[in-house]
Subunit: 361 residues, 2 copies
């Protein structure tokens, strides 16, 4: 495809070109229905096929056990910040949060509205450049859940291992890394992920939740914030975001076609290593993140000179390497290299960094 | 476009072919950005241009005064059923509801969770086939708002006039008729509409709200259910449903290109009259709705014989006239003839009804 760029946006982000081409081809007439997926009744057999197949493919890709429900909801991770406490903080009205970045902080602040939430650990003291040592964390045995953010988009960190929370359900915001590496879903009570990084377009949020946790929510919870209603209606309590769900389904098919999560995890490690190995040896760029916590999805790096950072971002853009500016709370640069970023995109970025280093050191 | 059908679905529903064709053409490279709209950061200048232009065009189309905010939110009308009371029932904790159908009932039931909601009038006694006489309704002077459903998708009714609520803000769910006829926005405190009928694809909800009504919500309202947060952040408190908003923008451009709401209202009346005039004179089909309350968007009709109704729906489908089955609570047939349904589609339907009548009477 001519004139396409390598898009390192943190989200919404680059999608597989194959997916976009298929969506294009099917835009005015999906599978002989004579309609676009956008025009279909969500109660039509064609759309029911689409959403059911998307669910099956996601279940396959992550080996999601049969006692977990998959929901496709609206409102992004930000809505889950409220839905999780409203629906899960119902036994002892207590939850523990590990705060490893801006979104973890938001989730914690929102949770506090609905019960006794405690920030049992945080990496705020060093601007979220590490993940707290899990063996040091004292969790409350009677918490209704423990909440983590498994990959921190802004800071470029991730949990290499996940905390063992015993019988307390572990809840994870995986928005910026779902489907990028193998996880054991059975270790989690609930996983949620806004789609716009590794799953599909913005406007749909995937929730994977153990069935026994789906129960009556707190009093006066809005209907649309009730897992039980969405679960009882197979994500069709109201009109779902049909077209975004259809695109998610195409992304799942694409991921299966290239070998699933096993295959993409290898590619993702290869891509991340290309960048981190170069940065480790660079005289210009450094990573602000401790090695053991480095994300394979969001790679942050800085020159230490704001003007030079800005020059880098501008010159990269001129080369078709776009959206490399870091978040304002970290500065410098960030390359988001989600599943759909090809190895060639990362190679092009490293080549540009090498050239830039030579010219500016 | 070959092989397209006339889609009478109640929603999601038929879209202008011009819009789909443009979306198709721009799928992999929007306006020279080298990316799909689906791949764009919502903070990018390109997407900011898209959402701002969509807002401007909607403001033009409905002559929305400058003291009204336009929000593009997720969660559909069903989320507004909670957001309206949570954000507006904050002075006297009272609201009046006029119940004219299934969605009005849902809105009322949800409102009651958050305060003293009263169903001041209802047309449930005659299966919602009429709109209560507005002069008979006793509204409470100290209500925080009065809620109506301006067009009732399932039953095929609509308010020909709107109630005069004096200084009490009038709130209207206009999901199934927004942009189909001229309205005076200044008579309303808040208007909301799920997009999937006249505005765009499912997954985005338009909220038009008078600025003085945007204030602190009830205690412990989820962040994502707070108008003030969305308003302060111009619908970008979190990642919005970017692609659906882009399609809404294309629909607005299309509507402007054919002459705006004035022009489409004339066409809509013409389309509705084609059907209602034929039904009035038919010996087979009747309308369950009193004449003065008939919707120009959703035209319900019955033969009085369930088997014949089913035969009609099946034979129509075979002719490329799809989704004509009525909602189970009314039975019979329903032709949803939203803005994007061309006059030719309605003519084809009437011709088929005439043929069917001849063959089955």
């Amino acid at each position: 495809m001519a004139n396409r760029v390598f898009n390192f946006s943190a989200g919404p982000s680059q999608m597989p070109l194959e997916v976009l081409e298929q969506a294009k081809n099917e835009m005015t007439n999906y599978a002989g229905t004579g309609t676009s997926v956008m025009e279909m009744s969500h109660r039509s057999p064609a759309f029911e096929g689409i959403i059911q197949e998307a669910e099956r493919d996601l279940r396959d890709l992550l080996s999601i056990p049969s006692n977990y429900k998959i929901l496709f909801l609206q409102g992004g991770a930000s809505s889950q910040f409220s839905m999780v406490p409203l629906n899960l903080m119902t036994k002892n009205n207590k939850a523990d949060y590990i705060v490893t970045g801006a979104f973890a902080k938001k989730a914690f602040a929102e949770g506090k509205k609905f019960g006794d939430c405690l920030d049992v650990a945080s990496s705020a003291d060093k601007n979220f450049t590490y993940i707290p040592n899990l063996s040091d964390i004292k969790l409350r045995k009677n918490a209704d859940y423990v909440h983590i953010t498994s990959n921190n988009t802004i800071y470029g960190t991730r949990y290499a291992q996940f905390p063992d929370t015993g019988s307390v359900p572990l809840v994870a915001d995986m928005s910026s890394e779902i489907l990028s590496r193998n996880i054991d879903v059975s270790k989690f009570g609930l996983i949620y992920a806004g789609a716009q990084k590794n799953v599909g377009p913005a406007g749909v949020c995937v929730v994977i939740v153990r069935e026994d946790l789906i129960d009556e929510p707190q009093k006066n919870t809005p209907a649309m914030f009730t897992y039980k209603l969405h679960s009882d209606n197979d994500s069709m309590y109201n009109t779902p975001p049909c077209y975004p769900i259809y695109i998610c389904g195409l992304v799942f098919k694409w991921l299966k076609s290239i070998g699933g999560v096993d295959a993409i995890e290898k590619i993702n490690i290869q891509k991340a290593n290309l960048l981190y190995d170069y940065i480790e040896n660079s005289k210009l760029f450094t990573s602000p993140v401790v090695p053991e916590a480095r994300s394979i999805m969001n790679v942050t790096f800085v020159t230490g000179d704001k003007d030079l950072d800005a020059k880098f971002v501008a010159e990269a853009k001129a080369q078709g390497l776009i959206n490399l500016k870091g978040h304002r709370s970290v500065g410098g640069m960030r390359a988001s290299i989600y599943n759909a970023m090809p190895v060639d995109g990362v190679k092009a970025l490293v080549a540009f960094m090498q050239k830039f280093e030579k010219e500016n050191i």
